[in-house]
């Protein structure tokens, strides 16, 4: 399968990329890792007439701890996350996800920013970033702005980015002592999208959950948090009853469709079980770093 025709631009700076976006409007798409966009173009599900390849833009590929947050350049390859073992120790939820996104070959090209900006609820980073309460940094002709992840996803393949804005950096707040996270994904085989997956980031104070964010992958039309699951966890001890309540709340709140990966009913039950397991694992990790 051959993609449709398009003009190819390869800017070398962020400003040039933004200028190209501004000049070509909605006909243009950013080409980052291309691991979602190129297959979509081959299926003719996407037919942009201009591709702006940002792979030659300097200064978008980095992973470093800043004061209070982990900064991930939008063009950072998934491969880099998977192999930054030392840094990832403080971000176990992200480390979990890094090993299960697509497959190792795809991870050598795929980018963190692309996985998020594509706004596919089947992708893994949206739920991870929702659970972390991450901040997206975008650059446009008018300068830089910071978008809380809770305001970022507007719908299927739809984000708060304007057509002439480029996602440049992802900021994950540094987890405090007593915080832990986990990402659990059920997939039919390596490389497939999740049947369902759950991201949990929580904090334990004494014996109770003091804060929790729970987000779900591929069980809703847009990336989503489960407010019900979070409410069921916060203020409670992590008893079987608490976990079950959280799992049931998320299962009720999500909106999966029946497809080749399973029936909606099956996926809801997966969500119930995965929320329980992920919350338990997150709590174990939280207790390991009081």
């Amino acid at each position: 399968m051959i993609p449709g025709t398009f003009d190819y631009l390869a800017p070398s700076t962020i400003d040039e990329a933004i200028a190209a976006l501004a000049a070509h409007g909605d006909d243009a798409k950013i080409l980052a890792g291309g691991q979602s966009l190129i297959p979509a173009m081959r299926f003719r599900l996407a037919s942009p007439t201009v591709l702006i390849d940002i792979n030659r833009v300097a200064g978008l590929e980095y992973l470093r701890e800043e004061a209070g947050y982990l900064a991930i350049g939008a063009l950072t390859r998934e491969h880099a996350l998977e192999h930054a073992a030392e840094l990832m120790r403080g971000y176990p939820l992200l480390a979990d996800a890094a090993r299960v996104i697509a497959d190792p070959l795809v991870r050598n090209r795929a980018t963190v920013g692309g996985n998020i900006a594509h706004a596919d609820p089947a992708n893994d980073h949206p739920a991870v970033m929702l659970a972390y309460g991450a901040e997206m940094v975008a650059r446009g002709p008018g300068g830089e702005r910071h978008i809380p992840i809770d305001d970022f996803f507007l719908g299927l393949f739809e984000t708060a980015l304007a057509h002439d804005e480029l996602l440049t950096e992802i900021r994950i707040p540094k987890p405090q002592p007593g915080a832990g996270g986990a990402y659990l994904k059920i997939e039919r085989k390596v490389g497939d999208y999740a049947v369902a997956a759950v991201a949990v980031q929580l904090a334990i104070d004494g014996s109770r959950v003091s804060a929790a964010r729970v987000a779900l992958t591929n069980v809703s039309p847009a990336p989503m948090r489960s407010a019900g699951a979070e409410a069921a966890l916060v203020g409670q001890e992590l008893s079987e009853a608490t976990l079950e309540a959280a799992g049931r709340a998320a299962a009720a709140e999500c909106d999966p469709s029946s497809d080749l990966r399973g029936t909606a009913e099956y996926k809801r039950d997966l969500v119930r079980v995965l929320v329980k397991r992920a919350a338990r694992k997150a709590a174990e990790r939280a207790s390991a770093r009081p």
């Binding site: 398009f6 291309g34 190129i38 190792p104 070959l105 795809v106």
Partner: protein, 164 residues
């Protein structure tokens, strides 16, 4: 549609050409360079049969445009044997029966080559994780893992070949 003149180092040689922006790297390799050892399996970014090394990293050449490879280095299965001698990986697949139909083999070998360059003594789990993006529909992977272990052992005995 834009046309672009590119220059790519393929198996150590500088290769050029004019490409349409939409030409996929795998089609450039197979049709313009006539290097047909790189296979097209699934057409859906699933199978890894088209794996080549881009600057040493295994990638799916069906999911990258040829124009993006301009200025980069590409290694295909044709570049693996040196001086008429099989690479230890090729020898391993031969000795350990690491293939039946052989369709996935070039991609497997390219992925394994990068794996062993980064980790000369991988555990079985690390090998299985490393090749998890390359699908084989014949062997069930046991023999493929053994082939890679064979090559790893041989390369460790002959460290000068690691660089090659």
């Amino acid at each position: 549609m834009s046309k672009h003149t590119i220059s790519v180092t393929v198996n150590g040689e500088t290769r050029g050409g004019e490409v349409d922006s939409r030409l996929l790297l795998v089609h450039y390799i197979r049709e313009q360079l006539s290097l047909t050892g790189t296979h097209i399996g699934c057409d859906t970014t699933s199978c890894g049969a088209c794996t080549v090394l881009l600057d040493g990293r295994p990638i799916k050449s069906c999911t990258m445009f040829a124009v993006q490879a301009d200025g980069h280095s590409v290694e295909t299965i044709e570049g693996v044997a040196q001086g008429g001698n099989l690479h230890p990986l090729q020898e391993g697949f031969w000795e350990q029966h690491g293939l039946q139909c052989g369709f996935c083999t070039p991609g497997m070998i390219m992925t394994a080559k990068a794996l062993l360059a980064a980790n000369p003594n991988p555990s079985e789990d690390e090998i299985r994780h490393g090749i998890s993006g390359n699908l084989c529909r014949c062997t069930g992977y046991v023999k493929i893992v053994e082939a890679i272990q064979y090559a790893a052992a041989k390369l460790r005995e002959q460290p000068e070949e690691v660089a090659a």
